[in-house]
Point group: C2
């Protein structure tokens, strides 16, 4: 009911709505309306109200709640259910917990803040309050676990497209980072729970430094991390960007499910790659080799040429590039 009252007030932001009208339209008592309005105030919504003329919504909070994001989402599954937290250890940890307990395909976990945000290989991810998009998507694809890595590229392509729709052109660092002016603005962390030929669930964690300020980054990562706001010079509409990511994700993901192909996502990753043509280092289980990145093939693997002239593919190793936030 709270969301229906909010919707009614949102569509009438120019004028007051009487308690009587809300009561009649939604079939709810005036005492209950008062209770819901107070609950909304607690969430950061602001109202003008008068016992004579009713209520008018004057301000909505900058929060990535279901109420604030849902109306921008065009999907059938991805993001139809958004579970929102003000603070949490890590959206991936929560998503795995909810998935293990049966959360549905397409459920999205979003937190305003992560106190223990995770990057790949157990690294920490800075996630200050209300300044980024810290979210995880729960997926239950009927695919072989060996194809799970393809979903990371779908995520990277979806983020690229969504950020582009906000007027900012980024580059993709295969397979799971998005960079802007040589610094990281987004990381994707895909985790899975699986049997050998059956995925229980995938969790695609997407962390976007949207409105993170310079002061939020610890000194030692300032050379390697930045935010969309810092680089573009203007604040980002987190709600629209969140919805755009989820909308683009569902389109690309549905194509993948229908024919197992990630051609479209790979094309986006290839055309906007920061790696191709560059000298890179490949780190796999502590072993480091040098190579030149040539291409991303249609299976989403990185094609490289080694110093001895032989070519090979990198499945999902750690890759770093000289000059791109240093060799990490």
């Amino acid at each position: 009911m709270k969301d229906r009252i909010l919707e009614l007030l949102k569509t009438n932001q120019d004028s007051f709505i009487s308690g009587q009208r809300i009561s009649l339209e939604l079939g709810v008592s005036r005492a209950a309306i008062w209770k819901y309005i107070n609950a909304l105030k607690d969430e950061g919504y602001e109202f003008e109200s008068s016992s004579k003329i009713g209520y008018r919504l004057t301000s909505v909070p900058d929060l990535l709640t279901q109420e604030e994001v849902a109306d921008k989402i065009k999907n059938n599954r991805i993001g139809k259910s958004i579970i929102h937290f003000n603070t949490i250890d890590s959206t991936n940890i929560k998503a795995k917990e909810l998935a293990a307990n049966g959360a549905e395909d397409g459920t999205v976990i979003i937190s305003e803040e992560q106190t223990a945000g995770k990057g790949r290989l157990g690294r920490h991810w800075i996630s200050p309050k209300n300044k980024g998009i810290w979210m995880s998507i729960i997926l239950r694809p009927h695919i072989n676990p060996m194809y799970a890595s393809r979903v990371t590229l779908i995520g990277a392509a979806a983020v690229f497209k969504a950020v582009e729709s906000q007027g900012i052109r980024t580059l993709i660092k295969w397979p799971n980072d998005i960079v802007l002016n040589g610094k990281k603005v987004c990381g994707i962390l895909t985790e899975m729970s699986a049997e050998l030929n059956r995925i229980h669930y995938l969790v695609i964690g997407i962390g976007i430094n949207a409105n993170v300020d310079d002061i939020d980054f610890p000194e030692e990562i300032k050379t390697s991390a930045t935010s969309l706001k810092i680089e573009s010079g203007h604040p980002i509409d987190r709600k629209s960007l969140t919805a755009e990511i989820l909308n683009n994700f569902e389109i690309l993901y549905d194509k993948f499910l229908s024919d197992s192909s990630i051609k479209d996502s790979v094309a986006i990753c290839r055309e906007n790659s920061v790696l191709l043509g560059k000298e890179i280092r490949i780190i796999n289980n502590g072993k480091e080799t040098e190579a030149k990145a040539l291409d991303i093939n249609d299976d989403g693997e990185l094609v490289v040429v080694h110093p001895d002239g032989t070519t090979g593919v990198v499945f999902s190793g750690e890759v770093s590039m000289r000059g791109l936030y240093g060799y990490v």
Copy 2:
């Protein structure tokens, strides 16, 4: 201390040991000895005791506890720590929980009974009390998740060798069942939690119908399941069999870790396969195809020939065989 007292009593089962001697040898008070002896009685150990001449161990329980299995284990890691339960929902569920909380590589979870034992694809596994070996091994290999399925074949080969050491020749139904006289006596369920190029942990669940009686099997699975005891006509020493499985597992697993090859395990699975040369059905995501099983290649994949004469490999699909406990 309890295990050291037990060890002392075990090595002197022919004679009484005085409380004074235990007290001196182990540096423990006689009141404490009495407390530990009572704790052991609660676990099913039986003693003769006399205040004059001391204690004598007369009977040990048929339980797969660390105390009862450890002295038969020759390994460096696998089974060095055994966590034992009298009853539990599922050893795989418990193992995943412990692994997520940091349990060490090689930790083994054993339960005398499972109330919700799991087979592949969410199927139930009958696990009556004290009659089987219901255990899960936690592994943390530094391998790419795409090679995780190889560990299932290592498990199958280890079980085959261990059962063979007890004088019973079984056959292996690639990739994860052990059969005897056409019926299932063991199933292996490998689960993993992973990032894209890093395994957090693997859990190898091994369920063996050792001393399960005919009456324990529900009517509808009697045609497809049996136990080592039913088929061989004599009860199985569960402790020795458990230790042998873990010993064989570590040998084969260490070979795999040293060079990523599962040649030895594959050789065992190939030479003792129930599938090779047979007409089979391959079920993958609900789609069913017929084929003839030709070989298991060195990567552990099943090589098949299709009705049109073309050959292919099966990575880890569900496979069934006519006449082998029906098509399931």
